[in-house]
């Protein structure tokens, strides 16, 4: 099929649409009367609940831990204190990234050029993977917070070995996940198991879109450079 045939085919489709397509004006009027949605109303209730629990957890953590640091540092169990600080700190960072990303996505101007807008949206959406990477980093501290000095002094070799094995394996898993949770591994089985569900599908999709954008950008740059090169040589 030739170019003109394809164009003519599309024109005949267009003609048919012009003749038969009906716009339900009443529905459009209804849509424009609707109040603009707030960021909160676009979020699913479970997400709002999770974010609220996260804020509560971090808030409570900051209050409790800062009190211990200021008023009871000497007598405090350092295993608990440092483990909890790392846990609360990492959760706070993850929460901040998540909320910041949500706000920026909400503010993106969709009337900008497509590549620019899509790049912003897809980069922001794919940054959700950072939230997961950071949250996994806290795995080892869940194996250290319950320790105390008396366990250290009175424990036996078996206890030390089990504890060391558990903490080291959790650390290994945390670091491994932190390094390997990336787009390149999206087709691996372990990745698919961890990132299963609609929320993650959207993240994976956004990364696929980013690679499409890269293709367009690279080609754009190459063309411009070549064009510039020709101009310079002339």
């Amino acid at each position: 099929m030739e170019d003109t045939e394809i164009i003519n085919l599309w024109k005949s489709y267009d003609k048919k649409l012009n003749e038969n397509l009906l716009l339900n004006r009443k529905n459009v009027e209804e849509i424009i009367k609707m109040k603009a949605q707030s960021l909160l109303s676009t979020m699913k209730p479970i997400k709002i609940f999770t974010v609220l629990v996260g804020i509560f957890w971090v808030g409570l953590g900051i209050i409790v831990l800062s009190n211990i640091y200021f008023y009871a540092f000497v007598e405090a169990n350092k295993f608990f204190l440092f483990s909890a600080t790392i846990q609360v700190g990492l959760t706070a960072i993850a929460l901040f990234i998540y909320l910041y990303q949500l706000i920026l996505i909400y503010q993106v101007d969709v009337s900008e050029a497509i590549l620019e807008t899509q790049e912003k949206l897809a980069s922001l959406k794919s940054s959700t993977l950072w939230v997961a990477r950071i949250l996994f980093l806290q795995l080892p501290v869940w194996t250290t917070f319950y320790w105390n000095e008396s366990m250290l002094e009175n424990g036996n070799a078996f206890l030390y070995m089990v504890q060391a094995a558990v903490t080291l394996s959790f650390t290994f898993v945390a670091v491994w996940l932190f390094r390997n949770i990336k787009y390149e591994n999206r087709d691996k089985k372990w990745f698919r198991i961890i990132f299963n569900g609609n929320e993650w599908n959207a993240v994976i999709k956004s990364m696929e879109l980013l690679s499409q954008i890269d293709e367009y950008r690279i080609e754009n740059q190459t063309k411009n450079e070549n064009f510039g090169g020709v101009k310079k040589s002339v």
Binding site: L9, W10, L23, V110, S111, I114, N198, K223, F227
Partner: protein, 177 residues
């Protein structure tokens, strides 16, 4: 000071103008929604989302651009990023269940009709950005306007279109043989 009546009149004029712009460009909305969504319910939600976004930015419409350029930018941006809405119906405050755009697709055995269906099928198989480019090409947008909508250079538009056209032609010829 502007009176309340004057404000209401201005708002009514704005709504009327918006409705007439949508009316005269409804084909664009239909074609984009049809190319990006297979499911009819999703399609209706996508049209609704596009109209919401068009209305939101109608006030800031830059009249240096044609209405069609402005509509293409917003509609394609919304359609391409529609994947982010993991639970679409719930994310729309009051989803409108009746169709916003009504068009009776025919299942005619006519050759042109068959080819149109094939063309639509091939377009829907393209990647998101290629799909946008193809739609603009089929609408006979100039390379300059396509470049403005997509945000790439005109030379890049030409090369990309050439490639996608070849893919389409190959697909058509593989069906015919």
């Amino acid at each position: 000071m502007v009176s309340k009546i004057e404000i209401i009149r201005q708002m009514e004029n704005k709504s009327e103008l918006f409705l007439s712009v949508i009316e005269s460009h409804k084909g664009i909305l239909y074609k984009i929604a049809n190319s990006y969504c297979k499911d009819s319910e999703d399609r209706n939600d996508l049209v609704q989302e596009i109209i919401v976004q068009l209305w939101k930015s109608f006030e800031n419409y830059d009249d240096r651009y044609k209405y069609s350029t402005w509509i293409y930018r917003i509609a394609l941006n919304v359609a391409i990023s529609f994947y982010r809405k993991e639970n679409r119906r719930k994310e729309i405050a009051h989803p409108i269940t009746d169709s916003i755009l009504n068009f009776a697709e025919t299942s005619s055995t006519d050759d042109t009709e068959k080819n149109i269906n094939l063309l639509q099928q091939f377009i829907s198989e393209l990647k998101e950005l290629d799909k946008a480019l193809m739609l603009l090409y089929l609408e006979e947008k100039s390379h300059q306007e396509t470049a403005e909508i997509l945000g790439i250079s005109e030379t890049n538009v030409a090369t990309k279109i050439g490639r996608i056209k070849n893919t389409l032609k190959q697909k058509f010829s593989s069906i015919k043989t």
